[in-house]
């Protein structure tokens, strides 16, 4: 018993927090990746997350298979990201960091409204596949299988991303580009294509986060609005441009929110901001800030 709650309940709540945090991790990784290389704060990140959930609704109706949908959605959302980087963000490079930020803010309005026109303003149901329905015994009690899957999927994805950035030659180019784009260009690498790929990658991961969280949170046009704020909080806590920071801060924020909703439900939404304020006071650059990109 801790604080009047049985230890099993606390452990389950911890896992709930980790599942919630996994979505935060995915969002923050995408946001951080785009910022680290392009120095663009993507204010449309929440909108891409929302696009991912709606693309999930669309493709599952079209393909009828959850696993296939999970593979197609990041590609589809990433494709939208490609178009956005190439035609909207690229003209703004070299014009100051505030411009792409404001542009993506305006873009979020457009994306949300387009979805509202196509799918309607009402929420949409999105069920987890049958194989992930129900609960699994994890030693301390029964835990929803789908949430366990989200935690595992996030772990796999983050590992894959880390291997890609650290162990492949293209990852080396990306990391070098984050250090000094000019030198990479001098070495004969088309850096603008690297930027394009990274923007698509970041938005694709946001789309994946959207479709993964669709069965846990409901699907509606404004679902990206609160998520954007959460992603910002996680990025500020973890430190911009750090993969480790995104992972640790994402899970930490998830656990803090889920624990506060157990002990003081009224404070659940505010708790993450309190955490952020604390980090700002003690370590303004974030827990893992000031290291190289994704280091």
């Amino acid at each position: 018993m801790i604080g009047g709650y049985p230890i099993e309940l606390l452990a389950l709540q911890l896992f709930t927090g980790l599942a919630l945090g996994s979505v935060f991790v995915l969002l923050a990784v995408g946001l951080s990746l785009i910022f680290g290389l392009l120095t663009v704060v993507n204010f449309a990140h929440g909108a891409f997350y929302m696009l991912g959930a709606y693309a999930g609704v669309f493709f599952i109706g079209y393909l009828g298979n959850f696993w296939l949908t999970l593979a197609v959605v990041p590609l589809a959302v990433g494709a939208v990201g490609l178009v956005v980087e190439r035609w909207l963000v690229r003209p703004l490079y070299g014009r100051g960091i505030d411009y792409p930020l404001m542009l993506t803010f305006g873009l979020a309005y457009v994306l949300v409204e387009v979805v509202r026109i196509l799918f309607g303003a009402e929420g949409m149901p999105f069920d987890a596949p049958d194989s992930l329905m129900g609960a699994v015994d994890i030693g301390v009690g029964y835990f929803p299988a789908y949430r366990l899957f989200v935690i595992a999927a996030t772990a796999v994805l983050v590992l894959a991303l880390w291997l890609f950035l650290e162990k492949t030659s293209y990852g080396l180019v990306i990391r070098a580009g984050a250090r000094d784009g000019e030198i990479v260009r001098v070495l004969g690498i088309d850096i603008s294509r690297v930027w394009l790929v990274v923007f698509a990658l970041g938005t694709g991961v946001a789309g994946l986060a959207g479709v993964l969280s669709a069965p846990m949170r409901s699907v509606f046009p404004d679902m990206g609005t609160t998520v954007l704020v959460e992603a910002f909080v996680v990025t500020v806590v973890g430190g911009m441009g750090s993969l480790a920071g995104a992972v640790v801060a994402g899970l930490l924020v998830g656990v803090v929110v889920s624990m506060t909703s157990l002990f003081a439900p009224a404070m659940a939404e505010v708790s993450m901001f309190a955490l952020m304020a604390l980090v700002l006071l003690v370590r303004p650059q974030g827990l893992f800030g000031k290291k190289g990109l994704m280091g």
Partner: protein
């Protein structure tokens, strides 16, 4: 002679326009107020004019940080909303008369700006927008939770100020034109004060910070203090706008604290022309008139407003007034 005429006439009229603009720039307060004085007679209904007045003031306050100091804040909804709620709560729950209630609103917004600014100043560059946004959203949730005072999701209702109770004058806000000039009186005072601040050494410090922060520091400016002060002063102006909005609408919607309201200030200031004196009012006018017209045709006005904003960022980052000034100065 006559062959060269069209070109010549063009430059002369261009010069005249430039002369007019520079005259306006020299008497910027008079120009804004003169226009706003006759403004309600140019619009189909006064409620829109009052909205433009209030949001123009809101964007003006925001522009101090964004346009003049060059720091992008996404948290100004907190100050607008705090101004609204503090004024509204004082009137609804404590029966405070309207004038002190407006004062309470301004003070509340200033306190909010002091706390949020104090935390956000600790971060640099791009973090600033994210931190201000997150902290203002925190204010949103806090007010949302205080249902007894704030009305929660439904917003605060019943901010009814009808009789102004000014001795010797029988003024009621039920008359829309009276309401316009009531709001105008406050806006006029704020615009004059804003202009004085810009003309002061403090205004020069703001622009120095925008142009070159390290040089401003080398010249002996206390950068952190000046930024924080500008943030608080900007918050006071936005708080006044919020307080007036509470009295204008007689309710305080919870959305006034949402970060989309911060986005409104960004959009209006950019559409009008950031860092220009007339820009915020031009932007508020353009934005709200467009919204008004588009909602007659379709509910999806955000699509058009968002697209227009993106278009301006890409092709006219100086905004309407800024582009005009740029053309004339060439």
């Amino acid at each position: 002679m006559s062959l060269a005429n069209p070109q010549e006439r063009l430059t002369v009229s261009g010069r005249r326009l430039a002369g007019l603009v520079s005259l306006m720039a020299r008497h910027r307060v008079a120009a804004v107020l003169g226009f706003l004085l006759i403004f309600p007679f140019l619009l189909p209904y006064e409620a829109l004019a009052v909205n433009i007045l209030i949001y123009g003031l809101y964007a003006l306050g925001f522009n101090m940080v964004f346009g003049y100091m060059g720091v992008l804040s996404f948290g100004h909804a907190a100050f607008f909303g705090l101004g609204s709620y503090a004024t509204g709560i004082a009137i609804v729950h404590y029966g405070v008369p309207w004038l002190p209630a407006i004062g309470i609103g301004i003070v509340a917004a200033g306190l909010g700006a002091a706390v949020i600014g104090g935390l956000a100043i600790r971060t640099r560059g791009i973090y600033f927008a994210m931190v201000t946004l997150a902290l203002s959203q925190c204010v949103y949730y806090l007010v949302y939770q205080m249902e007894d005072l704030s009305g929660g999701e439904n917003g605060l209702r019943g901010v009814d100020v009808y009789d102004l109770n000014i001795p010797g004058l029988e003024l009621t806000l039920i008359d829309p034109l009276t309401k316009y000039y009531f709001v105008f009186a406050f806006v006029a005072l704020a615009v004059w004060l804003f202009s004085r601040l810009l003309a002061s050494p403090f205004g020069a410090v703001l622009e120095a910070l925008r142009e070159n922060e390290s040089r401003a520091r080398a010249c002996g400016t206390d950068v952190a203090m000046s930024k924080w002060l500008a943030f608080v002063i900007s918050g006071l102006f936005c708080g006044l706008a919020g307080a007036l909005n509470a009295i204008h609408l007689t309710i305080v919607p919870i959305e006034s604290l949402h970060y989309h309201t911060s986005g409104l200030a960004v959009m209006m200031a950019l559409l009008g022309g950031m860092g220009t004196f007339f820009g915020p009012f031009v932007g508020a006018l353009t934005f709200l008139m467009l919204e008004d017209v588009i909602t007659l045709v379709t509910v999806h006005w955000q699509l058009f407003v968002g697209a227009l904003f993106v278009f301006f960022i890409l092709f006219f980052p100086r905004g309407i007034w800024g582009t005009l000034l740029h053309w004339l100065s060439r």
